[in-house]
Amino acid sequence: MKWALPWQLHKAGILGMNCRNVDFIGRYNLRRFYPLVDDKLKTKLLAEEFGVATPQLRFVVRAQHEISHVEDRLLALEGFAIKPSRGSGGKGILVIIGRNGDKFVKASGAEISLEDIKRHLTNTLAGLYSLRGVPDVAIIEDLIEFDNTFKGYSHEGVPDIRIIVFRGYPVMAMLRLATHASDGKANLHQGAVGVGLDIATGQSLKAVQFSTPIELHPDTKKPLKDLSIPDWEAMLLLASRCYEMSNLGYIGTDIVLDRSRGAQLLELNARPGLSIQVANGRGLLPRLRHIEKIRKPHRSAEERVHYVMQTFSQHGL
């Protein structure tokens, strides 16, 4: 079977891009709230206001002239991540895990010089990684020390959990593991492994890489089947709270699990991708339509998470 037929996809409840854009993003995401999620700095400040945990912000580079004396501030940090505030799709994120003499060590193990970092900052400020090429600022924040649960599950990069939140209800989740093929990035189309998670328990359902089912992590050969996310409810709660925080009805939340600080919100996405359906082996539409039909949505994040954990399960919707 080379091509699926439209009604087969429809029967499987798969959400297509056009449907996502018109029926969900267009209808539930008001344009004026976009800047809050498109700008990581704004998201971060907002998250602090709403008590949503995020990685510790160290400093912000806003102007070109600040780059020339960024050296001292960087040297004070052991490991850090440089992110363009308005970057998209993981573009322009530079993760430094340590130093080797004068050189900075990237997550991949490659070493780069201070000059390279400065050039990266210059590019970021000029808007090379931002959505429409508009001038940007660079955020320097603490490195995530990922939880031991994920030891051996990720090649370079931090495993993050993507949860789709619709009207405040977490509807689908997956764990994204960077691989050698994805160059440490967590995007599925670049070759990261997507592990579908049972929304009720945080237990892994199935794993795919390049849309093909796999049993073992391609680089570390660890079995992906028995993965279970610790403290799953707290993670769902964090995701659910992002609804009140962002005012957006249909969002993708990217969450990481820090060894000492627990679940941390990395970023929000107002146009979350559709590959999560492939990782879960099921379509989003039945769950979205179910949530859409709820007349009186639950007020608090706790109630919503509770409702979801009870209603959606591996064999239910």
Partner: protein, 504 residues
């Protein structure tokens, strides 16, 4: 759920207005749907010859005035040294040539182009013309009364009376009375007189049978009678009612075909040829400044027109992009860059355009890899690329010229800034996502550009969008409709097939 009714009303309205206006203009102005449609046109030349007697000359020729079955396209008079004017008097159109003094043989020309228009409605006359007074000398008067009574006894309507009179007059063995009448005047003249005497307004029309490449075509007299609110044509030879298909009524009523003062031995001769002209050209000359004509762009200066020609093609290209991205799900680099490339292809040609575009971008990518090491600020890097692209284009043009291709002129149509940005985007894409993605997006853009080009270069696309700009409203409606499409993209049928397979 938001009600979609207003949306679909707008869509329906746009389509209706677009098609309706196009249809109106097609019917009213005769702008053809298809390019290169031809229409039959007759060029008729009336040549007036006479000998001037050395005094002031005034030659007056009756001119056709809205002849039934034909439409006058244009007319002109060519006669060196003569003043020419067209005079309308008492419902008659006459062309008048005048000169202070003239001697010897004189030749005057009048040329007119007529479009055959069989569907032209018969013009109605509001006021019933007066019956001409008839004078007969005795004994013709008695004969006329007798002939008329004979005919009237066998007829009931003006039409049947006319037919009966024609039958009597054309009888090869005319009766005594008829013969008497015909000895005094010609058959047509006698017929006109008899009809007027019977109280039916009648007049003689001079017709021309149109035959291709005919010189010195003789005129054919016809008789016209007035019934109800219109003139009816009868053939005085056969009594047949109605206008023969290829007969042009040059003169209807009036005193004489040609009057010449200050000259002698005057005569007029007609020659004609059949021409075919593009319908579009006809519509333009025929209806300039009429009705809906202002909606067309033809009133603009040529220079602006050619700009509009390109501009009106843009919606078509936009529709291709929308279709390919929403319905098919093709990835392109830059949303509307493909249209700009397609427009550039229109100026160059597809093959040369593709080769030069790909080679410029490829060379640009090579140079860009070096630029990335120089650690330039983004804006200045793009500016550097723009300038390098200009040099690349000039270089390619020179090489092309030396090799004998005349790409030189056309290659510069490529939007330089767009190319520079494309190179920049592609280069970043290459670094971040690998060459595969560059090929996917670059190939997608080129594919969409080629498709848009193929659609835009069709003669009918250019013709329709330029002559019926309102059709772009229909395209607009289609684009808006596609914006509401929530079904699966074609590419998703492939993307999600794995999911279905995995489920099994």
């Amino acid at each position: 759920m938001i009600s979609r009714a207003p949306f679909y009303t707008i869509i329906a309205l746009l389509i209706l207005v677009g098609l309706g206006s196009a249809l109106t203009r097609h019917l009213q102005l005769g702008i053809p749907w298809l390019p290169g449609e031809q229409k039959q046109v007759w060029l008729i030349e009336a040549r007036v010859d006479f000998n001037a007697s050395g005094t002031a000359v005034l030659a007056s020729l009756d001119l056709p005035d809205n002849p039934p079955g034909f439409t006058l396209l244009n007319e002109q008079a060519a006669s060196p040294g003569y003043g020419f004017s067209i005079i309308e008097n008492d419902g008659q159109r006459r062309g008048e040539w005048s000169k202070n003094t003239a001697t010897g043989a004189q030749t005057l020309y009048y040329k007119a182009q007529f479009i055959t228009d069989p569907d032209k409605p018969i013009s109605r006359v509001e006021r019933r013309p007066r019956v001409k007074e008839v004078f007969w000398d005795e004994p013709e008067a008695t004969a006329a009364t007798y002939v008329l009574e004979l005919a009237q006894s066998k007829s009931s309507t003006p039409e049947s009376l006319t037919r009966e009179l024609i039958r009597l007059i054309q009888n090869p063995e005319p009766g005594q009375n008829t013969a008497l009448l015909l000895s005094a005047s010609s058959r047509v003249a006698a017929l006109e007189k008899l009809l007027n005497q019977a109280g039916i307004p009648a007049r003689i029309a001079i017709g021309l049978y149109l035959e291709d490449a005919r010189r010195r075509q003789a005129t054919t007299p016809m008789i016209e009678i007035f019934v109800d609110d219109r003139w009816l044509v009868f053939n005085p030879e056969t009594g047949e009612q109605g206008l023969p298909e290829n007969l042009l009524l040059w003169q209807r009523g009036g005193d004489s075909l040609l009057d010449v003062m200050g000259g002698s031995r005057s005569r007029v001769s007609f020659s004609m040829i059949e021409q075919t002209l593009p319908s579009l050209e006809l519509a333009q000359t025929q209806f300039a400044g009429q009705g809906f004509a202002w909606l067309g762009v033809h009133t603009l200066p040529i220079e602006e027109q050619s700009m509009f020609k390109l501009l009106f093609l843009l919606p078509l290209g936009a529709m291709v992009v929308v279709f390919m991205r929403i319905i098919i799900g093709l990835k392109t680099s830059g949303t509307f860059m493909p249209i700009l490339i397609a427009l550039a292809f229109l100026q160059t040609s597809l093959g040369l355009g593709l080769i030069s575009f790909v080679s410029i971008v490829a060379m640009g990518l090579v140079i860009r890899t070096y630029l990335s090491r120089l650690n330039l600020l983004l804006v200045s890097r793009i500016a550097t690329l723009v300038i390098l692209v200009v040099f690349l284009v000039s270089f390619l043009s020179l090489v092309g010229y030396q090799l004998g291709f005349s790409t030189g002129m056309t290659i510069t149509f490529f939007p330089m800034i767009i190319i520079a940005w494309t190179i920049e985007r592609m280069s970043i894409l290459w670094e971040e996502e690998g060459p595969r993605e560059v090929l996917t997006q670059g190939g997608g853009s080129l594919l969409v550009a080629v498709l848009a080009y193929l659609l835009m270069q069709l003669p009918i696309s250019g013709h329709l969008t330029f002559n019926f700009p309102e059709l772009n409203l229909v395209i607009l409606a289609l684009i808006m409709l596609m914006g509401q499409y929530t079904g699966y993209k074609f590419s998703e049928l492939r993307r999600f097939r794995a999911l279905l397979e995995n489920q099994k």
